[in-house]
Symmetry: C2
Subunit: 238 residues, 2 copies
């Protein structure tokens, strides 16, 4: 069962933020100490209440989470996905006009995100970059839902998750942990779980992609990327 772990490696939080902006030794130390304050939240539990007054921002150390919107009739849409290393609840302004809460998709462990004193320095910069990335992924999610077929949505999402997760977890880029059920995947992609299931089988039969047993195995990265490339924004990208 050598399943790739969904845990951030030792020092991973610092590592991920260090990828976004250079950090002082003292900032790294701050992050290491924050880790001693880590806490757990069980799957399906609320991490941050919606419309909360920012409590304190956190770093997701292990496990996966998301922001969701639930309709009265039971439909639900996952707005954004949070993977290990991501920040939760960083608010740029003093009072949040309209935040969206976060809930745990699997058991998760978190630690408080240390706040830089004067809003300057590498750490603040890393937080800001992280926020910008998050916005970028929101845009990508909109384009996925608005203009891609089920088939393309899955390909695009798996490539995105691969990018986001493999760097942080130090897994090979073509094989990484994926602890979500097909039902959850459906809520993320705006589809039904039945249709997700059939589409995943299609990918398997074609030898492109294997999503099974908590792991994603990208079998033909080139062809998968081509699928999605033909929709790649002309528009430049960071």
């Amino acid at each position: 069962m050598a399943e790739p772990s969904s845990d951030l490696p030792e020092g991973g939080a610092a590592a991920r933020l260090g990828m976004l902006a250079p950090l002082d030794p003292e900032e790294r130390h701050l992050l290491d100490r924050a880790r001693d304050l880590k806490y757990q939240v069980a799957a399906h539990q609320i991490i941050v209440e919606d419309g909360c007054p920012v409590s304190s921002p956190s770093i997701l150390l292990s496990g996966w989470a998301c922001r969701t919107r639930v309709f009265l009739d039971g439909r639900r849409q996952i707005l954004s996905l949070l993977v290990p290393g991501d920040l939760i609840g960083i608010c740029r302004q003093s009072r949040p006009v309209a935040a969206t809460g976060a809930i745990a998709l699997t058991d998760v462990t978190l630690c408080p995100a240390p706040m830089p004193e004067h809003g300057k320095g590498g750490l603040a910069e890393a937080y800001a970059r992280s926020g910008a990335l998050e916005e970028f992924y929101l845009f990508r999610q909109i384009a996925r839902l608005g203009r891609m077929s089920a088939y393309e949505r899955i390909a695009d999402l798996m490539l995105e998750i691969g990018e986001r997760v493999s760097a942080v977890l130090r897994t090979p880029h073509d094989r990484f942990p994926f602890p979500l059920t097909q039902e959850t995947l459906a809520d993320l992609l705006g589809l039904t779980s039945v249709h997700v299931n059939r589409t995943l089988q299609l990918f398997r039969r074609q030898g492109l992609l294997d999503v099974r047993g908590g792991t994603v195995h990208i079998r033909d990265l080139a062809r998968l990327a081509d699928l999605v490339e033909h929709r790649r924004a002309l528009v430049s990208e960071a």
Copy 2:
């Protein structure tokens, strides 16, 4: 032809920002002076190049704009809509990791957004609130595209635009300017223009909503809101 104008009333920029946070007299003066520097961009032209180094942030004084993603095969998705009073290109961090450009949907006039010196004060707060609101609308857009039918998407969007536009333009909340073509509306809603057309006709026949000739007329706000209400977010939940 008493069509509601799409222009911000005199002092409108200050008015809109003043709705978000209290402004000093001097801040209001700054905004008034910025208006003297206003400039125009024609419909379909780029306002902010994608991946730009932030140039300078602007305030949209009149006309409508959007952020788009265009696929290689010609499909396009409007990511977010910008209406008079909205800010363009406010970047919280020193270097944008991944911005998305903006293009004009109609002829627009803009003016530079005055920058508060030390990043404090009512103006900075108003900018931050505006950014948070923008994020809120992104979430709403995702929920629309992911989990609503064409019929619901249109109802929800028209209600959103009504909220955003009528306050700023001082138009009655049930009748406001809407200068977008059905094709553009389709790109915003992730539909085809043909289907948008048929759905708009349905709304008209039902006496709920009339989108025609550059104006939206909400004929039955209560029933329209009900349509969308049944999908109103309870928000967080497992």
